[in-house]
């Protein structure tokens, strides 16, 4: 089987997370990632791009160029912003087929599912759903 872009991205992230010994370090990394994610322009933070079901506000923009996904996003909470950054690292530049067929296991692999799967309060599932839905509409 061919190793796809998405799997490469995930294993890169997984290996980075594997260095962290405490939850603080993980969050510091996420926050770092959040701070380095380019912010969205104000006019893009609109109702069309909003992701529902998050306690913090999250905006996510998916675009397809040459059959590949390009993500942008932002949030008013820094951890959520970090999550957006994480999703960008994982999904950006992947083919729509890869994305549509991806699953959420990577969250478990990086030891974040436990911390981040808080039902309905945290939008990471909603974000991934939105991304996948977008791609499967193009398939």
């Amino acid at each position: 089987m061919l190793i796809m872009g998405i799997e490469k991205n995930i294993s890169k992230i997984v290996s980075e997370f594997s260095f962290f010994e405490s939850w603080e370090e993980k969050y510091e990394y996420l926050i770092e990632l959040g701070k380095s994610t380019p912010p969205l322009n104000k006019e893009l933070k609109n109702d069309l791009n909003i992701v529902r079901g998050c306690q913090a506000q999250v905006w996510l923009i998916c675009e397809i160029k040459n059959g590949k996904l390009f993500l942008q996003g932002d949030s008013d909470a820094i951890i959520t912003r970090g999550l957006v950054g994480l999703l960008i690292c994982i999904f950006n530049n992947c083919t729509i087929e890869e994305v549509a067929r991806s699953n959420n296991f990577f969250l478990e692999k990086i030891g974040l599912s436990k911390h981040l799967s808080i039902t309905r309060s945290n939008g990471i599932n909603e974000m991934i759903k939105k991304i996948r839905l977008y791609c499967s509409n193009y398939e």
Binding site: Q55, S117, I118, T119, R120, S121, N122
Partner: protein, 408 residues
């Protein structure tokens, strides 16, 4: 294998005695007893992860929310409903019916339209419809029941017309134990674009329910009548109907945005779950349904059939017993009288022998009237009852006849 002795050990109360007499609990149609797993699940929630749900960011809230939503999945599976969001947690059948009456009926009807109701329904499936029909100026038309206690299909057909917007009917009667053919009824109704509300309060504990097969529009039941906790119930509705339906209660959780100028409702199913719901109850209900599934509804039916045959035969053979109906019930529910003896007297004396039955109008005054009596003694059995208990019961009735007539 269905090991009755083993199963009875699951229910702490079944092993109690009073005045050295074992408990004979034959009031299962009023409420069932609870297996230990349900009681323990509730204690576990309160002792180990009690918290409010859905808005908390912390571990306990996450766990409680997860278990709560797991129950929704269990209910969906138990009823074979199509979608999780078609399952709404309520405080019980009564609330479920009120929700549909006050939130849905107005979306499909206008003044002059009609609502059909079986003549043998429980008060809960009569009074809400009465009140809303009065408000909306709709007419209630009652459907006759056959001598077997079931909806008379001919009468139903006769009364279905384009003015009829909804039919409210029970699956199993709490008086006669007879079961309506819901699939056939829904089939007929759908042809005329009549929505069907099914009161499943008495059926869920006795037989498998397959909503996608029955194809009814709404269905409801109570946790406490199927081995679960009090204060929790379920309303199922087809998604497209629930989307149209207005909420019954307003408050926290069910909203999307609130301002003093305008508020908007949240998504299904939360739009119908205002405020803090019975979290422990919902989680306990999940445990109850899983318990039923683990026993197997087919096994349950087999055991209940045994009890039913024995009761039917022995009650029928007892002198001076007048049955409510002359046809054998579908579920082991038996309403009867002892000749020239008030049901109150029978109930009082049975209690002295630690036998629990219900007496009186059984929350269905019109049905009782239609059967031409002022009340009944009702013995309602379920899978944990034994054939020996049936024998004890029959002997008790004979003893009562002696006591009551002794003075003659």
């Amino acid at each position: 294998m269905f090991n009755l002795n083993q199963i009875r050990l699951d229910f702490p109360i079944l092993n109690s005695t009073r005045n050295n007499q074992p408990l004979v609990y034959f009031d299962n149609a009023a409420t069932t007893q609870k297996p230990k797993i349900v009681i323990d699940t509730i204690s576990d929630f309160y002792s180990n992860y009690n918290s409010n749900i859905q808005r908390g960011m912390y571990f306990l809230a996450d766990r409680a929310t997860t278990e709560f939503e797991k129950s929704r999945r269990v209910v969906r599976k138990f009823l074979n409903a199509q979608l999780k969001e078609e399952i709404i947690f309520t405080s019980g059948t009564t609330q479920s019916i009120n929700m549909v009456a006050f939130g849905f009926l107005n979306t499909v009807s206008s003044a002059g339209d009609e609502v059909l109701i079986g003549e043998m329904e429980h008060h809960a499936n009569i009074v809400p419809w009465q009140v809303i029909c009065d408000k909306l100026k709709l007419k209630i038309v009652t459907i006759k029941c056959c001598e077997n206690g079931k909806i008379d299909i001919w009468d139903l057909k006769n009364k279905m017309n384009s003015k009829v917007k909804l039919l409210a009917v029970q699956q199993t009667s709490n008086i006669t134990g007879h079961e309506n053919n819901i699939k056939e009824i829904c089939n007929l109704a759908q042809k005329q674009n009549i929505k069907v509300f099914v009161d499943g309060a008495q059926s869920v504990s006795h037989k498998p329910i397959n909503l996608q097969d029955l194809n009814c529009d709404f269905f409801s039941f109570s946790g406490h009548k199927c081995f679960g906790p009090t204060g929790v119930g379920v309303l199922y509705g087809k998604k497209e109907l629930l989307l149209k339906m207005e909420p019954f209660m307003f408050g926290g959780n069910m909203i999307d945005l609130v301002s003093f100028s305008k508020s908007t409702w949240g998504k299904l199913p939360y739009k119908f779950e205002a405020g803090t719901v019975n979290i422990a109850g919902v989680i306990g209900l999940g445990a109850a349904l899983k318990y039923i599934l683990s026993l197997g509804l087919n096994n349950i039916q087999k055991q209940e059939d045994l009890l039913k045959e024995k009761m039917w035969e022995e009650l029928g053979a007892a002198k001076n017993v007048v049955m409510g109906l002359t046809k054998k019930p579908d579920s082991p529910i038996f309403s009867f009288n002892i000749k020239s003896t008030h049901s109150y007297d029978v109930g009082s004396l049975l209690d002295e022998m630690n036998i629990c039955v219900r007496t009186g109008h059984l929350c269905a005054q019109p049905a009782i009237k239609s059967l031409g009596v002022s009340g009944f003694v009702r013995a309602s059995l379920c899978f944990y009852n034994t054939e020996e208990e049936v024998s004890v019961f029959i002997s008790a009735l004979k003893r009562i006849m002696k006591i009551v007539n002794n003075g003659n």
